[in-house]
């Protein structure tokens, strides 16, 4: 274990965030980690110098198209396309969960789950990696239509508790971020182990 405090949720745009899981080089290269609002891990500045592919391309679109922001669906589609293109050249071995808020979408929020091969599906809840074996069933049970933020965070915490209890390779240091009409913000971050 190299690091216990890597924030894997990259803020793609003002109203979307992307959680990535996979080998660190691909992870940082593919998304953009720790810039902007993640005040929790400022000491990750060296990582910021890495190539940030997806979020910079999204920023470029906004600049070239007169300030028009891409919808979450469009961002997910772009991300999927890049994963699919890279698959047959030099694949990114990252699994992605992309969530964002759009005003003109019913319920506002949308969530997209992508695997490293480039398949993309809009879901109500999702999990990647080993966590999925434990947490998908919990969310199958607990999730229902029309949850508010508090209830949703409760379900996420339920999943984290389950992992802490049952998952052998678990690292208990989790960070929870919420994306809503006010943007991306960190709701809960466990204390940084390197502070002790």
């Amino acid at each position: 274990m190299y690091q216990q405090n890597l924030d894997k949720i990259a803020e793609l745009s003002s109203h979307s965030a992307m959680g990535v899981s996979g080998p660190n080089c691909d992870l940082v290269n593919f998304s953009e980690l720790g810039t902007g609002l993640s005040d929790v891990t400022p000491h990750l500045a060296p990582y910021h110098d890495q190539c940030r592919y997806i979020s910079k391309n999204l920023a470029l679109y906004e600049l070239s198209n007169d300030g028009m922001k891409l919808s979450t669906h469009a961002q997910a589609n772009f991300c999927r396309g890049e994963l699919a293109k890279a698959l047959r050249k030099g694949p990114f071995q990252v699994n992605v969960i992309l969530g964002g808020y759009d005003e003109n979408v019913p319920n506002g929020g949308s969530l997209y789950v992508m695997d490293y091969l480039g398949s993309c599906q809009k879901v109500n809840y999702g999990a990647q990696g080993y966590a999925s074996n434990f947490t998908l069933s919990i969310m199958d049970r607990d999730w229902e239509e029309g949850l508010n933020e508090e209830q949703a965070v409760k379900i996420v915490e339920h999943c984290i508790r389950e992992l802490n209890m049952r998952f052998l390779l678990n690292q208990s240091n989790f960070i929870i971020k919420v994306v809503d009409k006010d943007g991306v913000r960190t709701v809960k971050a466990d204390s940084d182990p390197t502070d002790n």
């Binding site: 899981s21 996979g22 080998p23 999927r80 994963l83 699919a84 698959l87 047959r88 071995q93 699994n95 789950v113 695997d115 490293y116 091969l117 480039g118 398949s119 993309c120 599906q121 879901v123 999702g126 990696g129 080993y130 999925s132 074996n133 998908l136």
Partner: protein, 267 residues
């Protein structure tokens, strides 16, 4: 074994056809590979070796073919002046189900649908590619693309990638300009076959062939075609771990498209 099969077939050629079919079926057993599933040796080249990030699934003994990674089941059937196409809804990653509403049938036009079974990423890529090429054609030619041309286009797109293919086995279903049904299927490198009755594709294609052969009757009406497709699909996917979670059926006629969701075993 093959010799014996032929000899008996010639003898029984005057008897009823059912016994001949049984003999062919028994002869085919020897073509089953170790895994007992795929009969074509072409597919044995594409065994899926789990990468490092996915190795937690490799505790099971057999490797999965790339075409079985996500799971799918697609049928298309011809009726009287109508065509039906149906698919299941499951999206899985090997044995874990990720979504129960994954679209595998795509509408290219009011009279042309394509069902794509295989690796989900290529299913989505091909959907976008095909819509792009079809729109380009219709802009340049200023006329609609017929199902025959579409099938040819798809076949070429697949063969272009002969030595690094798209891992999909498509099914094309549509009504041609005269309104008569058109069905075609192809393998992952574009070898096409057109039929008059039904075409199937997916991880449980053996089951699907069996169900369709049993239930199909020529010149079915809209409602009967829907019923036949639904029963064939649901019965087949119930015996396949990698496909299921309900289904969707589209019946295409001159008047329009009728789409219905199927609720089957949710597993």
């Amino acid at each position: 074994m093959i010799y014996i099969t032929l000899r008996i077939t010639i003898k029984k050629i005057k008897q009823n056809t059912i016994s001949t079919i049984k003999l062919y079926a028994s002869g085919a057993h020897e073509n089953h590979n170790l895994h007992g599933k795929r009969r074509h040796t072409l597919h044995s080249f594409f065994q899926f070796a789990p990468t490092q990030t996915q190795h937690h699934q490799s505790h099971h003994n057999r490797t999965m073919s790339i075409l079985e990674y996500n799971g799918a089941a697609i049928i298309a059937m011809a009726g009287k002046d109508c065509i039906g196409i149906a698919s299941d809804n499951r999206l899985g990653i090997q044995f874990q189900t990720v979504a129960m509403d994954f679209k595998k049938i795509f509408k290219m036009s009011d009279t042309l649908f394509v069902g794509l079974a295989g690796l989900a990423t290529d299913v989505q890529t091909l959907d976008q590619l095909l819509r792009f090429r079809m729109n380009l054609y219709e802009l340049r030619e200023e006329r609609a693309m017929t199902p025959q041309v579409f099938t040819n286009l798809l076949s070429n797109i697949l063969y272009e990638k002969r030595f690094g293919p798209y891992f999909v086995e498509p099914v094309v279903a549509g009504l041609d300009e005269k309104g008569s049904p058109y069905l075609a299927t192809m393998d992952l490198i574009g070898a096409t076959s057109t039929t008059k009755d039904f075409v199937v594709s997916g991880t449980c294609d053996g089951n699907l062939y069996g169900m369709c052969e049993t239930l199909y009757k020529p010149d079915l009406g809209k409602e009967e075609l829907f019923e036949t497709l639904a029963q064939a699909l649901l019965a087949s996917v119930d015996r396949d771990a990698l496909s299921g979670w309900g289904g969707v059926v589209h019946i295409i006629t001159k008047e329009g498209v009728m789409s219905r969701e199927l609720k089957g075993r949710q597993d």
